[in-house]
Symmetry: C6
Subunit: 250 residues, 6 copies
């Protein structure tokens, strides 16, 4: 987020607080405004009960994996109100402006992205097309880990994949050998499969908490951090606690 984004967010939050007759801008005004800016206004479509439940489990999967993974960015909000292209949203933002990510933190992001799909697998034994954008995001992270950030031991600290909007990182890398391409594909596959196995085990073991969070979500449609952590039976992290404290007196 750059300055203009922050100004926009502050503005939106102030307008929202005014519409809600708040004396001052509260934390909820900020997170609701952030959600609107990131995803667009609510879509006004009504999901059938099956789709609604599935979405609740999907978002609960994202959120619970985020809550239970120490290296993951803290969960700020979970919602099953359709916005833009999304049927629901789990908002996870870091405690402060991140300047870099470690291997463990990126693996945590991959696991959180897998959480929605794995929740559907664990609960319904089914896979749906609904996780497409999650898979797209986690594949991109895994490929950059391997090809740009030197996080695959087999590839080594070498940049072999292009960044955004570039055909190749520099002259001479546009055509990798078939062996190197296979190594990249294999390493990406390994990273994602390991994460998938771990997330499956995590959500299977914490099935009760997943149910609790999903049911709370079905009831209230949107949960702030404290409510979400409470519904999942996971203690709030310091960061969330602080954020909550800050907004409480408002």
């Amino acid at each position: 987020m750059v300055g203009a984004d922050l100004a926009n967010l502050a503005n939106e939050a102030a307008l929202l607080a005014a519409r809600r007759n708040h004396d001052k801008v509260e934390m909820a005004d900020f997170t609701d405004s952030l959600e609107k800016i990131l995803l667009g206004a609510p879509r006004g479509i009504v999901l059938g009960p099956e789709d609604r439940e599935r979405t609740a489990y999907h978002e609960s999967g994202h959120a619970l994996v985020g809550m239970l993974t120490p290296e993951a960015d803290p969960v700020r909000k979970v919602s099953i109100i359709p916005r833009g292209q999304a049927l629901g949203v789990t908002l996870s933002t870091p405690d402060s402006d991140r300047v870099s990510y470690s291997t463990e933190e990126l693996e945590a992001r991959i696991r959180v992205s897998l959480g929605g799909r794995v929740a559907e697998e664990v609960v319904y034994g089914k896979i749906t097309t609904g996780a497409e954008s999650d898979l797209q995001q986690l594949t991109e992270i895994a490929r950059q880990m391997v090809g740009r950030w030197g996080m695959s031991e087999k590839v080594g600290p070498i940049v072999i994949l292009p960044g955004d909007g570039q055909p190749a990182p520099f002259p001479g890398t546009s055509e990798l050998s078939p062996e190197t391409k296979a190594l990249i594909d294999d390493e990406v596959h390994r990273i994602v499969e390991e994460a998938h196995a771990e997330v499956t085990q995590l959500l299977t073991e914490h099935r009760d908490q997943l149910d609790g969070l999903a049911h709370a979500l079905l009831e209230t449609e949107a949960l702030d951090a404290p409510a979400a952590y409470a519904a999942a039976g996971v203690p709030l992290r310091t960061a969330e606690l602080e954020a909550t404290v800050t907004s409480d007196p408002a």
Copy 2:
């Protein structure tokens, strides 16, 4: 279908109802209008008796597989009146706005797409070029299952194929390894071949029903859902029943 499409459909149906001197817009006015919007006006060409019979079996194959496959979208209408590029049409639309598809539902769509060709194989022992657009559609579904929706266990929950109008899903995936390309091709082949075997068995076992439906179609040229299910000897699903009830009093 977005709002403008619905407005257009409602308009067409109203005009059609007026031309037919209906007191109010009936279900048949809606499905006929939908057919016209999707496929274009009738082409006015006259098929020879062989082509006409083959087309009847082709459409009956689509329709019967749709009726007998629980995960398939319900069949709304079957017709052998040539429209646009199509010699006939089997209209299958979901009960409600779908927000996602499960593996099983996509496999059902592949099977319905194969139904036309397999009916020709079962009845005539011949393959014709007439199924080209069916094959194109089912191949696209199978490739997306494997490359975008994470529905191949061997590929895993990874996005490796581009979506519509994109050269690659993101930087670094435009050049997959030969092994990964072979894995995709193999998985697509496996999915389609399995579906083909199942549809062949299904239509062979239900040959009587296929004949019944085809003959009814040859006689009347177009069948609404109740007539089509009756001709095929398949009980109407709840969804079709409701739709029928709604339009009956009109």
Copy 3:
């Protein structure tokens, strides 16, 4: 042929009939007009005796294979009058507007296309560059059988090759695996080689009829269907008979 083509054909045939002082437009006026529209006006070049004989055998090969292959489109006319780029022409058109082709009919078209070259092989033991456009046509049919029409059992009912003017059938198929490319090439090779073996056997066994047709062609330069079938000693099919009858009283 669309409406405008038919109008053009009717016009040309009427003009030709007038120039020939026919009371009404005869069948020959139609086929001659069709030939002119498809291939251009006669070129006015004079072939040497060797080229002329080779051309007669080449066209007779196309025509005789067409006459002896039940699934082939009926032969309408054979000529060794050079037109446009072609030194001769064998006109084969279906009995009625075709809406699709079966595997057997496409294999018949491949065989008819091979007939010219194989006739040269059988008669002269030589191959020339003259069959280039025939080979181009039959290769295209064979590749579409394998890659678009699902007519190769090994490939299955899958679309993996692009249609006309498209780089790829849809996203994700622009880069097939080397194994799939090899499978396509192998299947195309198999289809064409099988056809080549059959056509070689056919023309070797029917060498007398080939000679008869070629000699008749060398004498008269152009043969209508009845004359061509008579010269080849092949009974006219019902379709040709009907066409002949229709034009006779004129």
Copy 4:
């Protein structure tokens, strides 16, 4: 040669005959004009004695292979007067307008193209860059034999290489399998290597005639067909004899 080319040639020949005070246009006026049109005016550069001798043997190699290969186009003229990019020229044109070429005639053209380089190998034991355009021409013939004219038994009567100015012969052939590419490369290599072995044997066995032709060329710079055949000790073919007779009375 189309009509305009012929008109141009006739014009040039008439002008040349006038400049030479000929009573009528002689054969030599025609071949000299043809040479000028095909290759441009003499360049006026003076070759050193080594380059001049090497050029004489190079052109004699082309010409002698042409004279000794029955399927080759007859040799019309040999010259070591530099024109355009060429240091010398061997003019070989067919007896009449060719409408097609047989495998044997194309192999003969490859051999004639190799004649220049092989002469240098046989005489000097050296290879030079001077044969580049010959190699380019013969490779193109060999590739078309294999990939467009169905003249490789292993490839079969299939078109797999594009013609002039086209990226691919038709949809679906732009990406051949590695095996098919290797087959094409192997067949082209085989055709050219066989021709190379035969031409090497031919010029080694006919070394005396090669020397005779080269020496005559060094003396007179340009030889018409009768002089060239005489210098090489090869009897003129009927075609050349006729051409000579026709021009003699002039």
Copy 5:
């Protein structure tokens, strides 16, 4: 640096000296101006304590490897003041205008580039995305060593990779064989892995010096050459000594 760059640098340094009330332009005015020109003005963002410490170790890693590697360009300045996209900077410039680099000097540059990442590995046991531009730079050096500068014994003194902004070094090299591509990838991998092993050993053995430099940097944010070498306990090289002497009397 060309003339205009030098003029710009002199100007910036003079302005800076004036703002600092220096009687004449001092060495520090020059290096500070150079830093600003190369990286942009300080960004004004405040790093958290963890990121700040990690950055200090990252820059100290670059600097200490530079100080301990004889073939490396001398270290001029180390800083953890964020500028442009960079969180810190280690300024290493050669003693004089370089006209070429030896294999050993390029390997030294690769090692210095690896120093930041390896310091993080050694100190925290973690890899982060922060070294991306370092990896990009060292991969480019390694690829050019192998593909343009003939510094891989297995590849030999051959140019097989394109330079900047070129698709291929010259005609015929745009498509290397898979084996050659694999050889390039392997050699690049070998060079970088060897450097990585050496740098890891170096920083592990000199951990005390790394700590000393990092702590000094955390305290003062920016160190000139003398202060940096002192903090790391490495004797200044002659080149740095001279530079220091020159600027001292100012």
Copy 6:
């Protein structure tokens, strides 16, 4: 060199002779003008003593290999005055306008190009980036020998690589098989490695002469042919002798 180049050269030489108060244009005026036209005016940069010595050995390596290789073009001038992008230059031009090159002469050019780098290897045991343009030039020669001039026995007299500014030599060669690409790469590697071994042996055996030439160059900065051959202790070839005689009386 075409006419306009020669006119330009003559003009430059005349102006230079005038500035030097020569009565007529001398040989040195011509070679100095040629150097200026080919490389640009002197750059005015001052090399450090190490770079200067390395450059002297580099140019001496080119020159000595040229003097000792019979098939190489004669050496006209050696200089270590930086011009354009070059730190020094060894001018080698053929005795007369070349119309073609033999395999041996091209191998000689490759050896001369390698001379600079090998001299550095032999004298300093080091490889630098300074030979990049030499390597580019010799690789291009080797690739054309293999792919365009038929000088690799394994490839045969076939053109498989494009010439300047062309994507492919003709239709059907833009995509060679992996095997053929590997064959080209191997043959290029073999040619260059053989030349490298020979040049290394040559310069090791003639180390004294290399030192003599380099020292003379360090003293005088530029040597004409007679001075260079004398310093290297190599007798002038006839061609150089003649050139010298011609210019002596001036």
